[in-house]
Amino acid sequence: MIDFLQLTAAGLSQGSVYALLAVGLIATYTVRHVVNIAQGDYATLAGLGSISLVSAGLPLPVAILIALVSVTLASVLIERVVIARVKNLTTLVSIILTLGVSTLLQAIMLLVWGAEGRRLVAFPGTDLNLGGVSIRSQELWMLGTLIVVGGGILLFYEKTRWGKALRASAEQPVAARIVGISPAVASVLAFAIAGLAGAAAGVVSSPIYLSIWSGGLLLGLKGFVAAVLGGLVSFRAAIVGALLLGVLESYVAGYVASGWKDAVAFVILIIVLIIRPAGLVLRPNAVRV
C-alpha cells in the first residue's frame, strides 16, 4: 500500500510536468492548428538557462524569472520568424517546421550546455514523510506550479474577454476581432502562453528530473498524449489526462518494468486515437482535424 501511494505521488508530480506542456500545446493548437513539436524543448531550455544563471551567482527566484521571460520571448520569436512566415500552413508543413525548430533548439542546447544532464538547485523546503511515503518538497513545488501556472492560464481562457476571444479565434476570427485581437496577435499570444507553460514545467522539474538537451522531445510528446486525451481543445481534460498518464507510467515502472515506462504514453496515444480521436471527455461536436 505504501508502495502504491509512493508510486502515485511520484506519478502525480511527473504528471504535473506533462500537464503544463499539454496546456502549452493546446494553446498553440487551438489558435494556429499547429502541434508544436518544440514544446518540450522550451522546458529543457528554461531548465538549462536557469541552471546557468544560478551558477552565475543570481539568486534562484531571479534566475527563474529571467528564464521564464526569455523562453516566453523565444517562443514568440519562433512564431514570428518561422511559423508566421508560412502562408499556407498545412499539417505537413507545420509538423516539419516545428520539428525543424525542435531539432535546432536541441542542437543549440547541446552546443551551449554540452551533452550532460544538469540539475537545478532544489527549491527551498523540507522533504516530508507521510506514514512511510516520502514526498520530496520539489514534488510539491511541481504540483503547486501546475496549480498556479496551469490554473492561471485556464482562468485567463475561461474568465477573461481576451482569453475567450483567443479560444474562439481559431474558428471565429470575427469574434476575436471584436475584442481587438487580430489573428497575428492571437498567434503571438498563444505562443507566449505555450512558452511560459513550457518554461515553468522545465524550471520546476529540473531539480528532480534534470535538464538535458535531448530530453524535451519525449516530454513534449507526453504532453501531446495528454492533450489528445483532451481532444486537443480541453485544458481541463488534458490536465487530468496528464496526471493520469504520469501515475500510470509510475505504476508500469513500479509493477511491470521501468524500461517499459516510456511506452505507456504511446500505447495510450495509439489506442485513444483509434478508439476516440476526439478525446476522452468531449462533446460530439467539438473541433476535429
Binding site: D3, S134, I208, Y209, L210, G215, S250, G254, S258, G259
Partner: protein, 399 residues
Amino acid sequence: MHRAPRRLLVPAAVAASLVLALTACTSSNFGGGDDGGGGGDAEEGPIKIGAVLDITGVGANLGVPEQNALNMLADQLNEDGGINGREVELIIKDNQSTEDGAARATTQLIENDQVDLIIGASRTGPSLAMRPLVEAAQLPTISVAANAAIVDGSEWVFKTAQNDLVVLERILDDAEAKGYTKVALARDATGFGEGIADIITELGAERGITLTATEAFEPSATDFTAQMTNLRSADADAVIIWGITPSAGLAQAAYVQIGVGKPVYQSHGVANSAFFEAAGDAAEGVLAPMGRLLVADQLPADDPQKEVIDQFIADYTEAFDSPPSSFAGHAYDAWKIGVAAIEEAGTDPEALRDAIENTSDFVGISGVFTMTPEDHSGLTAEALIMAIAEGGRWNLHEE
C-alpha cells in the same frame, strides 16, 4: 512534349553532385577486412592505433577521461620517439555510447584507417558489438569495459577493467563478513548490468546470501522512484546498485530520498568524482570495490602500484587540471599493454596477439596484469580495494 527532358534534369543533378563530391583519390575501396588485419602490417609509416570510446552520450563520464589519457599517452610516446622509431598515430572515434555507433566506427577503423590495434569500447554493450567485427578482421583489440562476456572465449579481444565477477566477489565477501543474508539489486539495463543477477545468485549461494529483488535502470534515466520504491519493499539487508555515472549516482540520490535506509554497495562503475556530483550528499557511506587509483594518497608506501599510479596522476593532472578517474586508468593500462606488445612483436596481428597474451606481471593502474591465452583479462581480486564514499571523495575502507 517538354516534360520528358525536364525530368532528366533531376537525375542529372544527382549525377553531377555525386561526381563532384566523390573526388578521385588514392585508397582502394576494395581492400576488405578479410586479409588478416588489412594493410596494418606494413613495416613503414606510422603505427596506427584506433580507439572507439563513449565520448558522448550516457557513457561520456567514462569515455572522456579515457580519451584524455590516450591522447596524453600518445603524445608522450611520440615525444619519446615512438615505437622502435616509428611514429604512433592515434585515431579516436566517438561511438556516441551506442552499439551501432561502435560497430560503424570499428568498421571504419578496420577498412579505412587500417589500424594495427584497437582500444575500446568504454562500456560493455559497444564492446560486445565490436567483438565479432574485430574477430572477423583478426585484429587485436583491448576493451576498457568490465563485463567478462567481452573476452570470454575470444581469440582477439582483451580487456583491462576489472571483471564484474571479482568485483561482486569482493562485495559479497564484505556482505558475508557483516552478516548480511539478503541483498537486493538495482542494475544498469545495458550490457554492463546483464548477467549480474545470475552471478550474485551463484556467488551468494556459497556465502549464504540470497538475492531478493532485481530492478533495472537505463543509463539515461533520471527518475528512479519506481525502482527504489520496489527495493524499499524488498526486505534486504543491503542493496547493490550496479551502474555507471551519472545514472548510478542519481539512483543513489533517489535511494536516499525514498528513505530505504539500508547500506549500499556500488560497483567499480562509479570510480570517479562524477559520482559525487550526481549523488550529492546521498553518496556518504557507500562502499564500492575499485582499483587503487582514487585512493592513491592513502596507499601504503610499499604498494607495488603506487609509483605507477602517482606518476599517472601527476601527468594527467598536469595535462588536464583534474585528477584522473579509474576509467582513465583502464585506458592507460590498455595503451601500455598494447604498446609494449607492439614494441616486442611488431604489427603482425597474430604475433601482436601472442605478445599481448604473454603480458606478465605488468604493473598498471587497475592492477597487476598477467594475461594468458585463456585469460584475456589478466586481473585478480587483488586488483581491487574496497573504497568508501566520505566527504565527497573515495577513501580506502579499513576492513
